[in-house]
């Protein structure tokens, strides 16, 4: 019951948090940078002490097949949440696809350990979340934030995560301790990813000149791509203030930066050949 009450309260908070689309350097709006950097150092220390050693060990000792099965099962438990969000976004085909995957993988895939929907029917998942729902509903990206333990995010995506956490359909369907299975599965997937992509994580966190800035640029680019405004041009047309890379277009407050859900144009990407000094 408390979960149901939490939804309107969170929606209200989300609405209040609806940020203006103010973008500064490099298409990055980071007004909380100093606080974010502290969180980043905290996250790095957690990685050094816990996530990195445990993740690499987990991935090493787990047989590949079993590791994949656990990840599959964890992913399967997230599907009901995807379906709800797809419906909220009016993406009916995605909702149908995720429903199909949940039904097929829970049965033929034996509780989701096998990806029968993919293997037998070629139906791959369409991951989504409440952050994307907020995007579809027209909420702006907001500020970049690095969350403790969870890592890079934005104001919009942080609220999205909170809503997803409290409204997971599986959480309503199950009662403790079964309802914790989803969270445990998610945690194991994080360990698995930290182990499997160890060198990528290590490069990013420990070998880059500024790991905070690297994590930020990687997250924002990839997240915008997921949401459909990829590094791409085309759709916009008209005058492009970003054509001169050395004119530093990022100092301008981008009026065109508000993400248009349907457009694929990335206003932050310009032709490097337009530099007059070359």
């Amino acid at each position: 019951m408390h979960r149901i009450l939490a939804i309107p309260a969170l929606l209200l908070l989300t609405a209040c948090a609806a940020p203006q689309d103010e973008v500064t350097r490099g298409g990055v709006y980071d007004p909380y940078e100093s606080g974010n950097r502290q969180t980043h150092e905290f996250n790095k220390s957690v990685d050094r002490i816990f996530l990195r050693p445990v993740g690499t060990t987990y991935s090493k000792v787990m047989p590949d097949g079993l590791e994949l099965a656990v990840n599959n099962a964890a992913e399967n438990l997230r599907l009901p949440g995807y379906v709800v969000n797809s419906l909220l976004q009016f993406h009916i085909a995605d909702a149908a696809r995720n429903t199909f995957r949940f039904v097929v993988n829970s049965t033929l895939g034996v509780g989701g350990v096998g990806d029968a929907a993919q293997d037998l029917f070629g139906v791959d998942p369409k991951e989504t979340d409440f952050g994307e729902t907020l995007h579809v509903w027209g909420f702006g990206e907001g500020a970049y934030v690095e969350l403790p333990l969870l890592g890079p995010s934005t104001t919009r995506d942080a609220w999205g995560r909170a809503v997803d956490f409290f409204t997971d359909p599986l959480g309503f369907a199950l009662s403790p301790p079964e309802s914790y299975v989803s969270t445990v599965g998610w945690g194991l997937t994080q360990l698995s990813n930290r182990g499997r992509y160890a060198s990528s994580y290590d490069d990013l966190l420990y070998d880059s000149a500024d790991s905070y800035a690297q994590a930020r640029i990687l997250y924002l680019q990839n997240r915008r791509y997921e949401l459909g405004y990829s590094v791409d041009g085309g759709a916009g047309g008209g005058a492009d203030p970003y054509d001169d890379p050395y004119g530093d277009p990022y100092t301008e407050t981008a009026a065109g930066a508000a993400p248009a859900p349907a457009a694929t144009a990335d206003p932050y990407y310009e032709d490097p050949y337009d530099a007059p000094s070359l």
């Binding site: 800035a213 997921e226 590094v231 490097p272 530099a275 070359l278």
Partner: protein, 205 residues
């Protein structure tokens, strides 16, 4: 006489228009000269070489060397390197930029070449090309072992004088923009000194 004048006018106009048109063509030509087919064929060649390397079972050092050759042949290393410096590039001399570009090329090759090991057994397939703004984007799909297929885009331009790619974008993540953040951070850490940055790049990656 009058007739002649009347006759000469259109002809002068034609000549002027002709000059203007050819001047315009000279300016506009580079933007339109690169066809989708040419861009795609460049990426076909590039991807063919990458596939050969990841299928070869070469050692890490060999892969890095091969990647550096491929990078030098297909990428516009100059524009990639300089654009990672952003506005600061203007304040450096040509000699400084040349040695920076050289160090940058080695740095990129080591950094990305050593990742080729993870691609062993995988392949990249080229899909289609399309004009975007002033360049051509060629999309491809990477199929790696144990991974869901993902999209890789190559941004191709002939504005350097030859057909080259100037960016590689993996699921929205641009190599050029990501490296600009990294190089910018390194330059800051070196107090804006490009000689120190170049020296650091020679060791990094």
């Amino acid at each position: 006489m009058t007739l002649h004048r009347f006759n000469s006018r259109p002809s002068r106009r034609t000549v002027l228009a002709g000059i203007a048109a050819s001047a315009f063509a000279a300016i506009a030509a580079p933007a339109f000269a690169l066809t989708d087919a040419q861009a795609k064929s460049l990426v076909d060649g590039l991807v063919g070489e990458i596939n050969k390397v990841i299928g070869s079972g070469a050692s890490e050092a060999q892969m890095i060397a091969q990647f550096e050759r491929i990078f030098a042949r297909y990428a516009d290393v100059n524009v990639i390197a300089r654009s990672t410096l952003g506005a600061d590039a203007r304040s450096f001399s040509n000699a400084q930029l040349a040695s920076f570009t050289d160090a940058f090329s080695g740095y990129i090759s080591r950094k990305y070449g050593k990742r080729f090991r993870e691609f062993i057994g995988g392949r990249i397939e080229v899909n289609e090309a399309k004009q975007v703004k002033t360049w051509t984007e060629v999309s491809a799909t990477a199929y790696l072992r144990g991974e869901a297929p993902f999209e890789v885009k190559f941004f191709v331009s002939d504005r350097s004088g030859s057909n080259r790619f100037f960016d590689m974008v993996i699921e929205g993540v641009s190599m050029r923009l990501t490296e600009r953040t990294e190089i910018g951070a390194m330059l800051d850490a070196n107090g804006g000194d490009i000689a120190k940055l170049t020296a650091q790049l020679k060791r990094a990656g």
